[in-house]
Amino acid sequence: MLYSIKHTTTYTYQETVPLCHNLATLAPRDTPSQICRSFSLDISPVAGIVDEYTDFFGNRVFYFVVEQEHEMLSVTTSSIVERKTPEWKLTAKNLQSWESVRDLLQSSTGKYMHEKQFVFPADITVATEAIQQYAAQSFTPQRPLMEAAGDLMQRIYTDFTYTPGFTTVSTPLSVVMGERKGVCQDFAHLGIACMQSMGLAARYISGYLESIPPPGKEKLTGSDASHAWFSVFIPEMGWVDFDPTNNKLPDEQYIVIGWGRNYFDIVPLRGVIMSSDLHQLSIAVDVKRLTGSRE
């Protein structure tokens, strides 16, 4: 399926700002089930410097500096992405138990180095005792990892209430766990914390959901903004995505921007301005299905 994504972020300042430095991680990267056909970044006012580089996790990052006085900063990205639903071939091999995957990761040195880094909890995904206990319920002895992870996703979906405005970007998971409320970012972090507390590798995916559902299909939660979910490493299958907000294995309606250990590794847009005055932020995301796929 071919999608056109338009994402506009606008900052309005109370007073003129002479200089601002920004990092944008908004360009969808290529994955086994996704190809980014085009990407463009429009910055208003015009940025003096725009540099692209690849970050530690392989995501495309744009560093830009607005070096002229401005009262409003507007960043618009336009992408065309071709996405297909991943096809997981379930074989006997990938029905291996979560314990065997845990041990494989733990004992490996060189081979699974890349995957293993996602076993180590970082800051926000450090599990509390309550989280550890919550996770353990899905990981019964010898259960296949794929099944256990699916069960965890379903339980988060059932046990937690999607409540925009209850948390902020830095609300600790202990609060989310205690109140059983949050948004997709919290649920993704919770899923990662649970997996890591069991010694498994999980990472945070930043992306989008199709905003207008195909006829007859329900609109998904989180489709009017950036969305997030988590991904679990299962040997032989690779990285398998789980969306606990919608209790869904991400399919062709999900567009991936990139990944990291958690939100803070892949903040869509961040910046530092030279000003002590207040500012406002507004965001518009539009993910449209392009009629007539090229293939």
């Binding site: 002479p18 293993k116 970012q185």
Partner: protein, 859 residues
Amino acid sequence: MSGQISVEAFLQQHIPDSHSYNELYTEQGNIRATWESFFSSWQGMGHTEIQNRTNDILRLLKENGVAYNIYNDPSGENRPWELDPIPQIISATDWAIINNGLVQRATLFNLLLKDIYGPQTLIKEGIIPQELIYMHPGFLRSCMHINLPAQQHLVIYAADMARGSDGRLWIISDRTQAPSGYGYALENRFAMSSVLPELFSNLQVRRLSPFFDSLQQALHSIAPNTNDTPRIVILTPGPENETYFEHSYLSGFLGITLVQGNDLMVKDNFVWLKTIDGLERVDVILRRMDDVYCDPLELKSDSLLGVPGLLHVVRKGNVAIANPLGSSIIENAGLMPFLHLAARHLLSEDLIVPSIATWWCGQPREMQYVIDNLPHLVIRRIFRQTAGTRTAIDGASLSAAEAATLIRKIKANPHLYTGQEKINFSSTPSWVNGKIESRNSLIRGFLVKKEDSFVAMPGALTRTNYTKSSFVISNQTGGISKDTWVISSGEDHVQPVKFQLQTSGSYNLIQKESLPSHTAENLFWAGRYTDRLINNARLLRTVMQFVMHNQQPSQATANATKKILLAALTHCTYSYPGFTGNENTEQYQQLLNNPWNEFLQTQYDENKSGGLSQNLVLFKKSVYNVRSFLSADSWRVVDQLGETWQRAKSQPHHEPASMINDIDNLNTSMFAFLGMNRESARREQEWAILDLGRKLEQSLFIIRILQQVLYKRQETQTEYELLEAILAATQSMVTYRYTFRDHLQLPLVLELLMLDMNYPKSLAYLIDKIRLHVSTLPKQGKTQTLSEPERLMLEAHTLLSLSNGLVLSKLEGSGEEYVPLSKLLVKLNELLLETNAVISKTYFKHTLSQQQLFVTRVL
């Protein structure tokens, strides 16, 4: 000294258990030759003399402002640096081993750093566990695969070492991101060699200065652009930092500009220093700031200390930072058990100087060992936590409950903990309260990159603890330092008896560097606060003297004068509400009858805004900010002035006469300070900016006092008294009498204080000086035309030139008011404030703070 007993007998006499000191004695029980020479000189001087000289050292260090802490800490936690007159002595043979061991370790860390941020072969091959790197907060993922232009990444390295009872040195911890202490080591040597040169006489002590030459060279060598002389800066978190003294000391000693994060900015993928001449490109940054604080955009997002975008300039190869961002990954106690394998892998060598035995809890067997042997170990986290929390805990100091809590924490996050052996420290002789006692010591050695290897400072910073037994020594928990003497093997340079070092400016830079805007602003404000303090002190004294001499309220005229002067005092010092209340209230009448309580507060109360004590605090703070521009003498005056004032302030009773005396003393010191400033200013421009601040403050004060006191006609007697007070408050009485040889008349007073071009306290003179100073400031754009401040001051100058005393003294309108005078004063005030604003905007530009933008919420 005749009849001198042997050193051996002397030591026996003074330290009964001296034979247990392996620092002093060889295994055969003979005193080591170096210590024998040392104590022979020591004995020659005698204990009384030593104690006197030690006091001199402490005074010298204090006067030089050496401190490890916050000088202006409001809580008053000002801990001066303490120096033991008995040095740590390292023999030439021992040094040869230490030197090789440290150079090897620095070499190893350099390779390790390049590997961790590059191919990661050591992790891939299982030599270093991945967790140890990936779970350490010092592993900065944004620094991965950055191609640093310099071949060698590590520039400066410091190691903390201790000597075990077997005489071997062990490395306890490593400092790789922004090591501190080499400035203190230099200052220790400076103090020792100035105050106790005799002690050096029998020993060939190696000089420290070659190390600093190497540091200079190293900083030059890493510059990304090798065509020109690189612009180097030292980046400090600011005066609140615990080692700020060292930052400013090194800045002076190396001749490198000291900057804070907001003095720098990133633009066009380069780092720039904001100077009064505009932006100047920076090539090399010697940072004294922890990794994550350096760039609020890519690293610690709530840091207000760093420079947004700095890491990207590094990525583009346009600036070099010593040490490179990310190097705190090496400050990792968990690495210690793996270093010998890493050394074999990377260097094909065994470690020359071993690390202290360390068990990393990330491995199950090691964790069990640590838990089982908790009381016999020091538990250390693999990274230093935020300030104020301890990284290392002596297992023996824990209660059963505390130990259980710690074990639980270790089990929850085993990767973050290590257990380290407690070394049986060798003790070293120390001078404690007039006696020689034994103490444990910790030696910090320093290395700097030289060509493709490293060179060690032939010396170190040694610290001992206050009490006899302690396994954890740090500056933050208190301690005494020692100069560290490395004895020459005869081939290298030795310490001359008289150490020729200045505390500042010992390198003459050929290249002219502009004054950073921030420094200019600090100098300007140091000038303003200096004169504010002097003016307010004089005015307070004048008003108090008037009240003292007119105790009898019988004379209505005296009462009228008193009211005006009291109100003027409040208005001029901004110590509101003060004497500005409604005259008809009882409260005001009481205040008028007994103003002394208010005077007391205005003089001594630090919390009284506009009061002298508060002005003094502001003055000291502003001067502290520019302390690298002051000579040691000026600094001593400021220090003594503060102490004298503190003593005066804390007297239980204050009499009017003693209060006036305190002000006299304060002013005398202030003038001593100013005199020394003029003499020791390094650059004309710096002095001009300080003086600009002074002259501006003085002009504003004269305008304000004239406005407050001479707004309308008074009874003749009152007017006379007021004129007398103004002349007294501006110290102009003698000049008036000398110039006019007449009784006090308003037109003549105005001629003197406002219009006399040759009188240094007159507005005309002051404004002319301001005009001169602003004309020396760099100009943007066309240089032929007048700058805005020049134009404003020319206007003020012209207005004054066209006035005369008689015209200004005219009364106008039905009211008996000095309208022409008031109008002129209002206009002049406006022009001066405008000048101040334009200077601020053009040259300081320092008002902008930085802030994080809101981040997108993912829903």
